[in-house]
Symmetry: C2
Subunit: 340 residues, 2 copies
């Protein structure tokens, strides 16, 4: 028997769990995955990228020279640019604005074959430090409302370059995916005066059946209404609306759990293609009333979305998903995958 589940945070989203659809023929054959040559992301090829914005490199070494551990550069094919006016305006019946924002690439390592989860914990922590630094910098631009950090791994997840990297897109509007979570978090607060993320964590810790990993500051679990097979969310156990306020102690613990979850996915699902995204509170003016409400209701977290099948007409037509794997099964499987 299949089952429909409502997401408590994205309240309008129902997911159809349909285990019988596992017997279907394989949807999408794995396409080949091009390796660009010469790669602009390897050490020594720094001149092939736009000049770096940020890097973790030895003290005294010159920008855009080898020796770096993590390097952030503008995307060569940016969806949005920093220069210009917002230009919000009506066009007849419609609304438009200029493509102001930022589109950056976080090159996670100079080694083209060192996947994020194969780095040391300190290596993963350096990548997270680059995320934090870029987000903290961009929030000072008052035209911007949000910075999305995301990673596409594999062609099925929309990746075009194989060299391990993440991306950042800064936007002049709050993404609807985040607005929707804020909306339901506020409704929950109004109804119960409790933080919905805390309630989710409490519920997951109590039952344990969807829990994948935990440490003293973070929990990783398959969400109750997972859209994708083996979807995993990582959530801090402490109050924190904004990712960029992560301190060094908790950053190390986030690196530990992120590396652990990605290793389990990679080992358990054999080179799975996936996306991850960080959802953090939108940038806001401390003088506005919004500040205190978001502080109470929101908590940053990461969604990891394995891409084992393609989205099709049903998903576009409804905004719902069909998932052949229950999160309890996915979590049990992932708990058993051994990683050192």
């Amino acid at each position: 028997m299949s089952e429909l589940r409502r997401d408590p945070i994205v309240g309008s989203r129902w997911v159809v769990f349909a285990p019988e659809r596992r017997q279907r023929p394989q949807q999408l054959p794995l396409p080949t995955w091009p390796l660009p040559s010469p790669s602009p992301f390897v050490a020594g090829n720094e001149r092939l990228t736009p000049p770096e914005i940020f890097a973790i490199r030895p003290a005294g070494s010159a920008p855009n020279s080898p020796g770096w551990k993590v390097r952030v550069v503008p995307n060569r094919f940016p969806a949005l640019r920093v220069e210009g006016e917002l230009g919000r305006e009506p066009v007849g019946f419609y609304d438009r604005m200029n493509g102001i924002g930022a589109h950056e690439v976080i090159i996670e390592t100079p080694d083209p074959s060192l996947e994020l989860e194969e780095q040391t914990q300190e290596g993963v922590a350096d990548v997270l430090r680059a995320f934090r630094a870029r987000m903290a910098d961009l929030r000072q631009d008052i035209r911007l409302r949000y910075v999305l950090i995301f990673k596409n791994v594999g062609a099925l997840a929309g990746a075009t370059i194989r060299h391990p990297h993440s991306q950042l897109i800064a936007l002049p509007v709050v993404p609807r995916a985040v607005r929707e979570k804020l909306h339901y978090a506020e409704l929950h607060w109004e109804a119960k005066e409790r933080n919905i993320f805390e309630d989710v964590l409490r519920s997951e810790q109590k039952s344990g059946e969807r829990m994948v990993m935990e440490n003293s500051s973070f929990a990783a679990f398959c969400p109750y209404a997972s859209r994708f097979p083996f979807e995993v969310w990582i959530m801090p156990k402490f109050a924190a609306p904004d990712f960029y306020t992560l301190d060094e102690h908790n950053l190390a613990l986030f690196a530990e759990i992120l590396r652990g979850v990605l290793r389990k996915l990679r080992r358990g699902l054999k080179q799975v293609h996936y996306n991850f995204v960080i959802h953090t509170a939108p940038f806001r003016d401390p003088r506005s009333g919004l500040w205190s409400l978001v502080e109470q209701t929101f908590r940053w977290h990461m969604e990891i979305l394995p891409r084992l099948s393609n989205v099709a007409g049903f998903e576009y037509g409804t905004g719902f998903y069909i998932n052949p794997v229950f999160p309890e099964e996915a979590a049990e499987f992932l708990r058993r995958v051994r990683v050192e």
Copy 2:
């Protein structure tokens, strides 16, 4: 310069138009597309499918025998089933219900190589008659709230079977994609006492720059905030919240424009993979107050979504889209594609 555009109907959805991203390397190589053998959908193999629910076949011919033009059967791997109770209930902190609904396949032709747009106009009309008949039948089940009709063509669009077919999924909840459109249509009505779909049509007819085709009852245009390159919406020019009320005269005109648009896409974009979905008003009780508001604010329409690239972390993280082709260019290109 890239540009952000807000969708007037899905008011929280902004789309990033980034023409410079066209210079990027090709995202997803075209995977091969399996032909099942023996196909359960060809004439003579009727016993390989579950028994038919509906068919357009010669008077007096037996169900599940050859001779049919269009045949509707249950999906062999259904996401939802008709049998059982809704079972809406809380599970601790969460909400669930049983997977009640329907999942049917509309086999558009007994010929495995006759694509929908290569059928005669009368052949396309027969497929639309099957859509209409199934929707009219399923709305009598008071447990159901919505019937989504959709089509996946090609592996990039999530198709697993090549034989021309569409699908229908009936749901016990209103899809969020439809709720969202209803929400913004109501806000527009409250603000202006005008139907938002009429305002969109009026705007598109006035400028003409995004118009692809028109006949006396329908307009096909690339929407202002198209999510995908060459996205086309087909909308009736007359007031009609519900697809299933389409009369024979307008059904013929819808068949004409749908066939024309699909031919333009197929010829212009060379065997493009695509999805289409029909958005219609949710089922509702005529005694409820909702009835009259939906009558005034909503209009059924079809979205045709070519799948030339894959969705990735940005789309999942934001609910926004990055589109390298402006709809004005897409529409001009499609207007010029000659179809007989």
